[in-house]
């Protein structure tokens, strides 16, 4: 897709007879700014290898900026680096580093401001407050960028890719680490997020609010401070993502709050404190996911309704499901639970007795968190066994009527 865009643009330039290529070298101060002042629509600005100490480079013409061997544009901790205010600009092959830090403006390495069809391809963004900042921009592409920082705390740091009030974005194959949030969306709709890796961010690997109709596919969110948080959105689709080792006191692989009509399918949740935490969510399909070695595979609060959990694998989790009430308006069906010890007399590969995924001890700790001190004690084992024989505390509506006898092959 991005290659196609580039090819099309090249063809366009080939027919545009006036287009010229301007080569920029790091021998004078403000070399890039001077070149930009000189060029016209359709030109290519080719930046040679070197160190350019420039800030607030305003791109107001329809041009292509190409770096050769990653020339370094250093903001020396003052101001922003590149601000794009014109449509169809391409920025590629640059290393952008050291933006300023300010509480008044969000300092970004590349800021796209009210533009369309801008591509940011193959850049290295190092130690910036914000990496790529898309503001009221549409049909933009952010592809194969490496975005790295070492943020220390939430207050003084920014997000790797930050999008606000934008539509139809494509974020693909970016590698983001060490920011506050890896990818942050607010009021972003109809966008696709593919193949990105977001690791070791101090807050969320992915964070979005009020962002409807977005698709997240094959992304990895690993080792982030609090995993992924998703709030107040509709028609979100998440497929084949990996959520791994979001492990800590307040960590979730995904935190869903006020989400509706969405799909979460074929994802892997591995070694998270909580796999999926749900609050006030409705009509979500959770299918074909694998939950492995999480503290809690799922915490489904009783404010959730009409969610469907089917054909998932639950393997080696400390607790499969926890909930805070007795009301349960969701459907669990056809999942594989490794803790299921029922039987299958008719050999149809579906257990004959229902499985209650909420253990008694998990109900107890939900009501009285201090009881966690008794985790793995002999008493709690006995309590769970007794409760299995004669359920009394466990929410009896939360059950899987057709638990599978064998785990599903999902990957």
């Amino acid at each position: 897709m991005p290659r196609l865009i580039i090819t099309i643009l090249f063809i366009f330039f080939a027919y545009n007879g006036n287009a010229k290529t301007i080569v920029v070298r790091a021998d004078k101060a403000n070399a890039i700014k001077n070149a930009l002042a000189y060029c016209t629509d359709g030109d290519t600005v080719s930046i040679e290898k070197g160190l350019y100490k420039e800030q607030d480079i305003l791109v107001s013409k329809r041009i292509t900026i190409l770096g050769k061997d990653y020339p370094v544009i250093d903001g020396v901790k003052k101001g922003q680096l590149i601000v794009v205010v014109r449509d169809s600009v391409i920025i590629s092959g640059l290393q952008l580093q050291n933006t300023g830090r300010s509480s008044m403006t969000d300092m970004a390495a590349i800021r796209l401001q009210n533009v369309k069809s801008v591509s940011v391809i193959n850049n290295k963004l190092v130690n910036n407050t914000y990496g790529v900042y898309l503001q009221n921009s549409h049909y933009c592409l952010v592809y194969k960028n490496t975005i790295r920082a070492d943020a220390q705390d939430e207050l003084n740091s920014g997000n790797g890719i930050h999008a606000w009030k934008s539509t139809h974005l494509l974020l693909q194959s970016n590698n983001i680490s060490g920011h506050r949030d890896g990818i942050y969306f607010e009021f972003v709709t109809d966008s696709r997020i593919l193949n990105n890796t977001s690791t070791e961010n101090i807050r969320y690997g992915l964070h979005f609010m009020f962002s409807h109709k977005d698709v997240y596919t094959r992304n990895s969110f690993i080792n982030n401070g609090s995993g992924v948080a998703v709030m107040y959105s509709k028609q979100v689709e998440m497929y084949y993502n990996t959520f791994r080792h979001n492990w800590g006191d307040a960590s979730y692989a995904i935190l869903l709050k006020e989400i509706a009509d969405s799909k979460i399918e074929h994802n892997l949740f591995d070694k998270n404190t909580v796999g999926i935490y749900m609050e006030g969510t409705s009509r979500i399909q959770v299918l074909y996911n694998e939950f492995v070695e999480n503290g809690w595979a799922m915490r489904v609060q009783s404010s959730c309704d009409n969610n469907v959990f089917e054909k998932n694998n639950f393997l080696s989790n400390s607790f499969d499901v926890a909930t805070n009430g007795t009301m349960m308006l969701n459907t669990f069906n056809n999942n594989y639970w490794d803790k299921y010890d029922g039987y299958d007399l008719d050999k149809n590969k579906v257990g004959d007795v229902p499985y209650y995924p909420v253990s008694m001890y998990s109900v107890v700790t939900e009501r009285v968190p201090t009881a966690m001190i008794l985790y793995r004690s002999f008493l709690t084992d006995i309590m769970n066994r007794v409760e299995k024989v004669m359920p009394s505390i466990v929410p009896d509506k939360l059950k899987d009527d057709n638990p599978l006898m064998k785990s599903l092959k999902l990957r």
């Binding site: 070694k271 080696s316 009501r367 009285v368 009881a371 001190i373 985790y375 008493l379 709690t380």
Partner: protein, 255 residues
């Protein structure tokens, strides 16, 4: 004292029960560790075995052994030896054999299959539990004259520490839920060596986070090195107190 200890150890090894105990533990550990691909989970299963069986077997076997060797003790006391020396030598001989059996039975498989800090912690907690429950058995021996009553008391003590105590603790937590009881709960666990051993082990594993999730105090206090040191010190107290108490009682006991 050394000579008496040697006799006790020799007697126990001839007895073969200790050897069987070690072999059973070894077979159990090997099977548990090799079934599970994840060694951390195997260690957790072994922890359950340790927490349940080590106290029970240590206290029962020790009580029965003390009561059975009462004639031997009386014979020794007819010689010019001090009472507490005889008693402590009996204790030391028994503890050495039982903890050797545990360390060989569980330690060898664990060290071969997954040698790490968690494994060492498991061995440490099992070892301390053996020390503690043989000491409690000694206290039971000096307190009761009748063998049947003594064994009954041993079973009751084992049940109390493995099961009943946690039940009472849970009731306490449930009833005082509204109050800030985190510190109190931490303090109360010090009164149960089995809980202490469990916490000591869990702190070494990833699942410690689950504890932190429910209360910052658990994480803050227990999650650090101080927590582990505190637990070990509490357990050492659990060895010393019954020992000192039984020596005091035995000194004045009418045999």
């Amino acid at each position: 004292m050394k000579t008496i200890m040697k006799y006790v150890v020799a007697d126990l090894i001839r007895n073969k029960v200790i050897v069987v105990y070690a072999i059973i533990l070894a077979v159990l550990s090997f099977s548990v560790l090799s079934i599970d691909e994840n060694p951390a989970k195997g260690l957790l299963s072994l922890l359950n075995v340790t927490l349940l069986f080590v106290p029970l077997i240590s206290i029962l076997f020790a009580t029965i052994y003390y009561f059975n060797s009462i004639e031997f003790i009386e014979l020794l006391l007819a010689q010019p030896v001090r009472r507490n020396k005889v008693l402590l030598a009996e204790y030391a001989g028994l503890t050495i054999s039982l903890s050797l059996a545990y360390l060989l039975g569980v330690g060898l498989p664990v060290m071969i299959i997954s040698p790490n800090l968690a494994a060492i912690t498991l061995l440490l907690s099992g070892f301390l539990l053996t020390l503690i429950f043989t000491a409690i058995a000694l206290l039971i021996f000096v307190l009761f004259k009748d063998k049947t009553k003594g064994i009954g008391a041993a079973i009751a003590a084992a049940m109390f520490f493995t099961l009943l105590f946690d039940g009472l603790l849970l009731i306490f937590i449930y009833s005082f839920n509204e109050y800030p009881i985190d510190k109190a709960v931490l303090g109360i666990t010090a009164f149960n060596p089995v809980d202490l051993a469990r916490i000591l082990m869990l702190l070494q594993l990833d699942v410690a986070v689950l504890m932190g999730y429910s209360g910052a105090l658990f994480k803050k206090f227990l999650g650090t090195g101080t927590g582990s040191v505190y637990v070990v010190i509490c357990m050492l107290f659990w060895v010393l107190l019954p020992l000192l108490l039984s020596v005091r009682v035995f000194r004045k006991k009418d045999l």
